[in-house]
């Protein structure tokens, strides 16, 4: 095991040697090592978060045909640092009548619910926190903590708009959790494991995005709704209920809501990469060739993972800045009447076909799974078109009012 093959293990072995040399009891040195590793990982996540602020502002500017921040530092790269300094030195105003304890816990909980996701995110085959064997449900559990933080924020602000925003946001988030959990079953079935690392390693042959593109689509939509980003951001609709559940938050507390949302978006981009695009690996077996063996170096794998996660984040931003906001009743109808039945159909289809087609040669298997998704997509579109046609005909049919007008004349 050299440094390049397995950097984290190398450093931890060396540090353990140092600590045991200082006669520390073994358990304490384990805990100390864990703490050092966790702090490094969290600082990496936070630094990435700062970079994401810059990326977000530049990208939204380009979508809106303007330049974005370019004054502070070259290309505005120091802008996020200026933002953080500004947020820290702003006055922290607590509205009167607010429930002080819950008011202060909410932003911390919102940020924590995103940070704990990094414990199971594998950056490379040897760079990860823990390999939990129920990783996928852990993701949903962290989302549950985020939902709680939003209710706490909305209720404790003692403000009508905050409360309304919080109710809507929580209804939205819990509704879209159902298709997400059902779709998380699809990689579980295809990889036969719930652990995030196991799913990444099961995609060395073929990406799950090709085996089940509908699952990717539904996961993308539910993820955007879970994040509360546009087009599902009626809850923070700046033009309607001002800032929704975080109206009464100022300074760094607001900063944690905002930065937490961006980091959450990036983390979900990372999970999309892991669940559907092969994560840090997934080169279709290319890395086994001697010429491409450098693809197995952990640092290269980490770069590949971050590139794929950036791509997922880019798609999420692209959708945010191109599509108008959806009304709350349309949002919920879309979820319960369209996404949930569709995701159940995709799940049943994957389960049955995975069992039936497993005996065929692999290219036929891939073709079968992909083809079945296309068939389901086509049938869905046809059903929607027929429904739309029926609706349009019902609207164009002359109603009873026109008949009475004719009689009056």
């Amino acid at each position: 095991m050299t440094f390049w093959n397995n950097p984290i293990n190398f450093i931890s072995t060396w540090l353990t040697g140092v600590l045991t040399g200082w006669r520390l009891p073994a358990a304490l040195s384990t805990i100390l090592l864990y703490v050092v590793g966790i702090t490094v990982l969290i600082i990496f996540a936070m630094t990435l978060d700062i970079g994401l602020v810059w990326i977000e502002r530049k990208v939204v500017a380009r979508f809106q045909d303007r330049l974005g921040p370019n004054r502070i530092g070259p290309f505005g790269l120091i802008q996020p640092v200026a933002d953080i300094i500004k947020m820290v030195i702003k006055e922290d105003i607590t509205p009167d009548g607010a429930d002080k304890i819950i008011y202060n816990i909410a932003p911390v909980l919102a940020a924590t619910s995103v940070i704990v996701l990094w414990a199971i995110l594998p950056l490379a085959s040897t760079i990860y926190g823990v390999d939990l064997n129920v990783g996928l449900l852990y993701i949903v559990a962290a989302g549950a903590l985020g939902t709680l933080a939003i209710i706490m924020a909305g209720w404790s602000s003692n403000n009508k708009y905050a409360l309304l925003g919080a109710f809507r946001m929580v209804s939205n988030m819990i509704s879209y959790e159902i298709p997400m959990v059902i779709i998380l079953l699809v990689p579980t079935i295809l990889a036969n494991t719930m652990s995030v690392r196991g799913i990444t390693q099961a995609q060395t042959g073929m990406w799950f995005a090709i085996l089940s593109p509908l699952a990717l689509l539904i996961f993308l939509i539910s993820a955007i709704a879970e994040l509360g980003r546009s087009p599902f951001d009626l809850n923070e609709a700046e033009s309607e209920i001002v800032a929704g559940f975080h109206i009464e938050y100022t300074g760094m507390k607001f900063g944690w809501f905002y930065a937490g949302e961006l980091l959450h978006a990036f983390t979900f981009g990372g999970f999309m990469a892991i669940l559907f695009f092969g994560g840090y690996g997934g080169f279709f077996g290319l890395e086994k060739l001697a010429f491409f063996s450098w693809l197995n170096i952990p640092f290269v794998q980490a770069l590949v993972f971050i590139a794929k996660a950036m791509f997922g984040y880019w798609v999420i931003m692209w959708i945010k800045y191109s599509v108008p906001r959806i009304r709350i009743d349309h949002m919920l109808a879309f979820n319960w009447k369209f996404l949930v039945p569709l995701s159940l159909v995709v799940l049943v289809n994957t389960a049955v076909l995975n069992k039936v087609l497993i005996f065929l040669p692999s290219w036929l298997y891939v073709l079968g799974m992909f083809g079945s998704n296309l068939v389901i997509g086509f049938v869905t579109v046809e059903i929607l078109r027929a429904y739309g046609r029926k609706q349009r005909k019902a609207e164009q049919k002359p109603g009873p009012q026109t008949q009475t007008q004719e009689q009056a004349l």
């Binding site: 358990a27 159902i178 709350i328």
Partner: protein
């Protein structure tokens, strides 16, 4: 050294091999080996050998540090930022005008109904996870058992739909 996880293999839960390629659990193995060699540390072995999984210890520490990290800038802001409270600044925000009525809103029953339907489907999906993990090993009828499970709950969804429970009025 990483363990290949093919789609057909049972994932080894406690496999020492997979542990040593993890972040710090590799250190744990090496520690365990070192301490084991010197036999005067029976108590330390017992302490380390307690059946508490290192995964959850790591996640517990992650949670603790994940709570501390957001708190640090907030504490720093409290030290650095100005504090000049006055009644106007602290009054509730309502688009720049004086507030009208209490800050209590009539909570629509529709939120509660959506939460109920969500609860039933959440429990259903959680039941499906152990089922999904057995599909590779067991024959086809297991898949059909799961389809039956899903079918019964789809009937429930259709019932709620027809009764108008999924409308936002």
């Amino acid at each position: 050294m990483s363990v290949e996880h093919g789609p057909g293999r049972l994932r080894n839960y406690n496999d020492n091999n997979s542990k040593s390629s993890g972040l710090i659990t590799g250190a744990f193995n090496i520690l365990y080996g070192k301490i084991c060699a010197s036999c005067s540390c029976k108590t330390t072995l017992w302490f380390l050998g307690a059946p508490m999984q290192n995964e959850w210890l790591y996640i517990g520490l992650f949670l603790v540090i994940g709570i501390i990290v957001p708190v640090v800038p907030l504490v720093f802001a409290r030290l650095v930022a100005p504090r000049k409270p006055n009644p106007i600044k602290q009054s509730t925000y309502e688009c720049g005008i004086e507030t009208v009525g209490d800050s209590w809103v009539q909570f629509k029953a529709q939120y509660y109904i959506f939460a109920l339907v969500f609860l039933v489907f959440d429990v259903e999906s959680v039941f499906l996870f152990p089922w999904a993990l057995t599909l590779k090993q067991l024959p086809l009828f297991v898949v059909l058992e799961g389809v039956l499970f899903i079918g019964i709950l789809v009937t429930g969804l259709v019932y709620a739909w027809r009764k108008g429970m999924l409308e936002w009025v």
